[in-house]
Amino acid sequence: MALSRLSSRSNGITRPLSAAFSRFLSADTTPITIETSLPFTAHLCDPPSRSVESSSQELLTFFRTMALMRRMEIAADSLYKAKLIRGFCHLYDGQEAVAIGMEAAITKKDAIITAYRDHCIFLGRGGSLHEVFSELMGRQAGCSKGKGGSMHFYKKESSFYGGHGIVGAQVPLGCGIAFAQKYSKDEAVTFALYGDGAANQGQLFEALNISALWDLPAILVCENNHYGMGTAEWRAAKSSSYYKRGDYVPGLKVDGMDAFAVKQACKFAKEHALKNGPIILEMDTYRYHGHSMSDPGSTYRTRDEISGVRQERDPIERIKKLVLSHDLATEKELKDMEKEIRKEVDDAIAKAKDCPMPEPSELFTNVYAKGFGTESFGPDRKEVKAALP
């Protein structure tokens, strides 16, 4: 699975892979057991073990993919400042471990639905850099044909249901998807992601109640980066133990900066959900950027805090240390990999820049499945400017 993911990421453009990677493409999947950084804290269930089964290939893939995600987000930052990306842009750097750990534990038949901080999750679901940058810049080749923008990435083939601007609204949707999966006996689950700010939305509790009542295979994942926009969690929630707020629904608190902890938790959650119904996962994570590109991110938290997290808990650094300590690659090889990634991202941006904007007629498409006969007139009532298709 790691192999096929790798080849899909090169977008059909063959480029020489870094030495470390090519070395391990042909290597057997040497099993490695990794201990998670912290034990899991459980609510109404028995926590999974701290020992995570992995392999050398997986470790390297984790590193590469997370580095790609990180590079992509930073490139998006520069593009936004250059006004090539307009509107709103919410970056995920710092939280990559959640996206990658989750992907490692599930299949493309399992559904993921999230809010607006969706670039990396889209990439993890098999999206390409080209689709990402095209969509961000509003081009035709974007995953939503340029009509959605940063907050609305979707990928039907990989069961990625987006990409939602209104916080909390995606959670009842996730429960509905879970119902459909259960009904069709897909043996698949739905991960509905939301943030610590959205955790206070009423519809979340409505969705939880329904899922628990009907034993739906829904996994509610709170990506707790501790700030709802600019509001710290303790100022918005009476109880910031989000994994416990399901009350009668079991929960697990996970170190969201540790990709292996995330993987273990998601695997555990999937098994649980298929048998027993909903479960809440709280990912203790952190975002380096502000809420969005209009937020410097430093008015409500100190720079020391941000750099402290970067030093102590950075998810990519952790994987890098593991790779080095298991002798899977040398420092130089990893640096080469990062250079390759940088080039890949730059190439994708250049390709996306060349892509055309959607046709003006696209303004009217897909409002309804088929037109309802509405016409848009110019100033002269007798002249029909456009008919909705």
Binding site: G87, F88, H152, A198, M229, T231, V367, D380, L388
Partner: protein, 357 residues
């Protein structure tokens, strides 16, 4: 108690025919000190005055404590304390419901919804609880002290969820009032009226103008009456009706039309519910033509209500069909925003074709 500021002091030409307006005498006008303020500062001033003059008024919403995402609530928490100006968690339905309860106890609850696009979870509370409270309790209870403020409208790059104009949904609800200011001076006076009005009010603020619009705003406490439209430009050939940020666009279209010899009368509706039918009727009876413009999609937009009412009242005086230059019937788009918006040229074209009908 409502002191209407002498509009003689303002830059835009002030015509005479506003229905039932009370005028301030010139002597009072001369003693006003004015300051050049933008929209968010004017609103901020209004909020300061509201909290100062009524000890039982409160401002709350998401992130209002530090000043709010548009800086409308700057300085309030520092001056009036965290018990009167406070942040709420992210739950619009809860916030508005809570505000209704607070207002029912005789307080002035000034709720901020961060973007009008997020007001929908609170729609049930506004329509079913706030609007009907006085009616269904036989006047035992009311939530008149409730004022909901929300930034609305296009901002150039807002996309689907930071640009919507939901005023039409609320205009369909008897029991609440809907008010939209066009400029800083109007905003301050109107907001104070809304806060002090004994009915629940939804106050939409055109977010595009928060920084863009700058005007001389008097520093004292003044109120502009609700349900009174204002003729901000007199003319004879066609009446244009609008509100909020769209008026600036319409004004430019009027100036262009004037170069082609068409004299336009421009009316700012200000209060959409209940709206000043008399002023618009009087104007259309004079000009014989009506054009309405708003950012919200044309189908079911508030322009439809104005059109139908004027048709009933002025049928025989109309020289041409009522024209509506509005947003298109699509979700508010991202890259297509320039095509979607009712621009100056679209309005100008419509003015010309209506006049030449």
């Amino acid at each position: 108690m409502a002191a209407l500021l002498g509009r003689l002091c303002r830059k835009l030409v002030f015509p005479g025919t506003t229905h039932g307006a009370k005028r301030l005498s010139t002597s009072a006008c001369e003693s006003d000190t004015v300051k050049s303020l933008n929209l968010y500062s004017a609103i901020n001033q209004a909020l300061h005055i509201a909290l100062e003059t009524d000890p039982r008024s409160y401002v709350f919403g998401e992130d209002v404590g530090f000043g709010g995402v548009f800086r409308c609530t700057t300085g309030l928490a520092e001056r009036f304390g965290k018990n009167r100006v406070f942040n709420t968690p992210l739950c619009e339905q809860g916030i508005v419901g809570f505000g209704i309860g607070l207002a029912a106890m005789g307080n002035r609850a000034i709720v901020e919804i961060q973007f009008a696009d997020y007001i929908y979870p609170a729609f049930d509370q506004i329509v079913n609880e706030a609007a009907k409270f006085r009616y269904r309790s036989g006047n035992q209870f009311n939530c008149g002290g409730l004022t909901i403020r929300a930034p609305y409208g296009a901002v150039g790059h807002g996309g689907h969820y930071h640009s919507q104009s939901p005023e039409a949904f609320f205009c369909h609800v008897p029991g609440i009032k809907v008010v939209i200011p066009r400029s800083p001076r109007e905003a301050k006076g109107l907001l104070l009226s809304c806060i002090r009005d004994p009915n629940p009010v939804v106050f939409f603020e055109p977010k595009w103008l928060y920084r863009q619009a700058v005007e001389e705003v008097p520093e004292h406490d003044y109120m502009i009456p609700l349900s009174e439209a204002e003729v901000i430009k007199e003319g004879n050939d066609i009446t244009l009706v609008g509100w909020g940020a769209q008026l600036t666009i319409m004004e430019q279209a009027c100036l262009d039309a004037e170069k082609e010899g068409i004299s336009c009368e421009l009316i700012d509706l200000k209060t959409l519910l209940p709206w000043d039918k008399e002023t618009v009727e009087a104007s259309v009876k004079k000009t014989g033509r009506l054009l309405i413009s708003h950012e919200a999609p044309v189908t079911g937009g508030f322009g439809a209500e104005i059109s139908a009412t004027i048709l009933e009242r002025c049928f025989l005086k109309l020289e041409a069909p009522v024209s509506r230059v509005c947003g298109l019937d699509t979700p508010f788009p991202l890259v297509f925003e320039p095509f979607y918006m009712p621009t100056k040229n679209k309005i100008l074209d419509a003015i010309k074709s209506t006049v030449n009908y």
